[in-house]
């Protein structure tokens, strides 16, 4: 079952982990797998007075950029675009750090652009590592022929991730070549790397300015992967309110816009961590798209490294 195991000998102390200096963990875990209620809030307000809200936002954007920026250490108008981009990424990472572990249920719907769709379900567990990238374990529940298959990622800040696949028919845990990152995740429009943990050190950054996406005031950044990737660059929009990923454009190796990701229905957990309830990836080159929906997010499950060892995949049911 997917419930927590016996408490580890050394209980995780969230407070210790949230102290500045202990924060090496993922920049928007699973690319906005951490994100917010901001849009929901917006939707609720819109019927009341759309114009009013937009006006308020416009005022905020015009009047408070220096205040917002003051929240981001290392960000200054005179700094280079690279330094400001990194400052925003680091701050987003800092705000997302300290959650220790989480688990959730995920439903993935594939659309082929010709009216056909396919639904599949999986469960995911994430462990935050104090001095390394996060660890993620995915367990596939259906379609029935892949049930029991599991996928484990140990992500790293600066080098290739370690990845394993578990094949239940042979009881075999199989190492996967790290380049698999750019491969399609379960035939979807998400690559493994889109779902991986975006550690700050994996990219070079460039701050591109402030823009508004879907009536949300955002910082716009460019991210350039430093490790092997299927992309040359990403353009990322983070809302100014809580630095949650709102949108990502992915450019392929020939510099053409390949995919667009939008994250929405952000929920806040433990009064601190934002996670989107929905993400949609649209492939602009083949017309296909994939929607991910999360539910039953649980934090503080006392998961530990043992739950994220390759051998642990054999015990999942």
């Amino acid at each position: 079952m997917w419930t927590a195991r016996t408490p580890p000998a050394k209980a995780r102390n969230v407070d210790v982990l949230t102290k500045p200096g202990c924060l090496q963990s993922g920049f928007f875990v699973a690319c906005g797998l951490r994100i917010s209620r901001y849009t929901t809030r917006m939707k609720q307000r819109l019927p009341v007075s759309c114009a009013h809200v937009l006006f308020v936002i416009a005022i905020c954007v015009m009047q408070t950029p220096s205040l917002v920026r003051a929240d981001i250490p290392g960000f200054a108008p005179d700094n280079s675009a690279a330094a400001n981009g990194l400052a925003i990424a680091e701050e987003a990472s800092r705000r997302g750090a300290g959650f220790a572990d989480s688990q959730s249920t995920m439903t993935m719907t594939l659309y082929d652009g010709r009216g056909n769709s396919l639904v599949r379900n999986m469960r995911s567990k994430t462990l935050e590592m104090p001095d390394d990238g996060d660890r993620t374990l995915l367990f596939f529940e259906d379609p029935a022929d892949v049930r029991g298959t599991a996928f484990l990622t140990h992500s790293h800040d600066t080098r290739d991730d370690d990845q394993w696949l578990y094949l239940p028919a042979l009881k075999r845990v199989k190492r996967i070549a790290s380049s698999n990152r750019s491969g399609a995740f379960m035939s979807s429009e998400f690559s493994y790397e889109d779902l991986g943990n975006d550690e700050v050190g994996k990219y070079d950054y460039r701050y591109l300015g402030e823009t508004t996406i879907n009536a949300v005031a955002c910082y716009q950044l460019e991210r350039i992967p430093k490790t092997p990737s299927g992309y040359t660059r990403h353009i990322v929009w983070l809302d100014q309110d809580a630095l949650r990923v709102q949108k990502v454009d992915y450019y392929d190796r020939s510099e053409r816009l390949l995919k667009t990701l939008t994250a929405s229905d952000y929920q806040q957990y433990l009064e601190r961590y934002w996670r989107p309830a929905q993400m949609r990836m649209v492939n602009l080159q083949n017309g296909r798209s994939t929607e991910l929906r999360w539910r039953d997010y649980q934090f503080g499950n006392n998961l530990d490294e043992r739950d994220f060892e390759p051998r642990a995949m054999r015990d999942l049911r």
Binding site: P143, D160, P310
Partner: protein, 402 residues
């Protein structure tokens, strides 16, 4: 006729399985398969047929309790064949209780354990016996009774095994195919150990990974899973050569390693085992190179190449003495989860060749159709593939998952 009653039994079994079309309760999981094999050439032996059909079922149950410290798991596998009674099987592939501590676990019962990293041959894999009547690829296994203690400190995993009962290898029977002219008479099995099947085997394995590098070292002391063969006296003229399996005792030490670098995955397995004529060794190694979204498509394409040599005497039946195997694996990333694996093998010392194709795709949410084809060719009389030269086959099967 035994054959007809077998076919009837098969049909009843199949319809019962497929009739149970509803889902199973949470702790249960199962699958049922119907399939048929067509052999391209006429058989060696008039008792054999060119077609056969089979049904198989796999049912699994598990229960965790005591904050997941304890688990009970059971798995039953059954297969019935239309032609060959030796392919009929009811096997307890799992039946164990396990207790877990913080950094150790103990389990008692029947389990399946896989050792190894390569694709074409599995040299290090020795805990569970293979069922060659199901498939020549040694990936169909029989449940092995064991007492297992696993220690998992931070610096690796140490597994210790006590294996109290020996499972004999299963081979196709006199009426079954994929045996060439060789007919293994399992009832006449001989053992080097005076305690026969009850010799207590011991095994230990240490494994660990450091970033992209992963390795294991293991030792096994007990009855070799792969038998040698002793010709049996001929009582009446037959197209087949009757042999009895002879299981020697062995001490086998093995190493396994993988190294992941970019698109490359490097693999190595090597074993050294004590044999009646002294120590012998075998090794296999190679790589898998993967292109994700190859050439602008959504396909994942992997190239596999492995070399293997085996100087052990008992290896003769596999013919894996000095071979190279290369092939391609394609994941189509379509809604049907279509997959294809095509491999070609060549004996560098002779002219033996082996071609293999495995392909499958999902049908709806609950079904999967699979195609398997293997072709063998050899002309040299001393090449072991000569035995299989008339056993080319196509197999089509349909599996329902519950």
């Amino acid at each position: 006729m035994n054959g007809i009653s077998n076919r009837v039994r098969c049909a009843i079994f199949a319809s019962a399985l497929l009739a149970a079309s509803g889902g199973l309760a949470d702790n249960w999981q199962g699958e049922a398969t119907v399939g048929t094999r067509w052999f391209v050439q006429e058989p060696f032996d008039p008792r054999q047929d060119q077609w056969d059909g089979f049904v198989a079922a796999d049912l699994e149950y598990f229960k965790d309790w005591d904050k997941r410290r304890q688990r009970f798991a059971a798995r039953l596998y059954a297969r019935a064949d239309s032609d060959d009674p030796a392919r009929n099987l009811v096997d307890v592939s799992e039946l164990y209780w396990r207790y877990r501590w913080q950094r150790a676990e103990l389990s008692v019962g029947v389990e399946r354990v896989f050792w190894g990293v390569t694709e074409a041959v599995h040299l290090a894999d020795i805990i569970n016996q293979s069922d060659l009547s199901a498939n020549l690829d040694t990936e169909d296994k029989l449940g092995q009774p064991m007492l297992r203690l696993s220690l998992t400190p931070r610096w690796g995993t140490l597994d210790l095994f006590v294996l109290p009962h020996f499972r004999e290898r299963r081979f196709p029977g006199s009426r079954g195919r994929l045996r060439g002219p060789l007919q293994v008479v399992a009832e006449r099995a001989q053992f080097e150990s005076t305690s026969g099947r009850n010799h207590i085997d011991l095994a230990a394995r240490f494994s660990h990974y450091i970033g992209p590098f992963e390795f294991a070292i293991a030792h096994f002391a007990g009855t070799q899973r792969q038998p040698a063969f002793v010709p049996l006296p001929v009582s009446q003229p037959s197209a087949s050569i009757a042999v009895a399996p002879l299981y020697f005792l062995t001490d086998q030490t093995s190493i396994e390693a993988t190294y992941a670098a970019g698109n490359w995955l490097w693999k190595l397995e090597a074993v050294s085992s004590r044999e009646p004529g002294g120590r012998g060794s075998a090794a296999t190694g190679g790589f898998e190179y993967t292109w994700s979204r190859a050439a602008g498509t959504s396909f994942d394409v992997g190239i596999i190449a492995e070399y293997q040599f085996d100087e052990r005497d008992t290896s003769i039946i596999l013919g894996a003495d000095d071979d190279i195997v290369a092939g391609v694996r394609i994941g189509f990333n379509d809604f049907a989860g279509s997959e294809l694996l095509a491999l070609a093998g060549r004996d560098l010392g002779g002219d033996g060749q082996l071609w293999s194709l495995e392909a499958s795709r999902r049908i709806g949410q609950q079904w999967r159709a699979s195609l398997e084809a293997r072709f063998f060719s050899a002309s040299a009389a001393d090449d072991v593939l000569t035995l299989l030269a008339r056993e080319d086959y196509w197999q089509l099967s349909l599996t329902r998952f519950f």
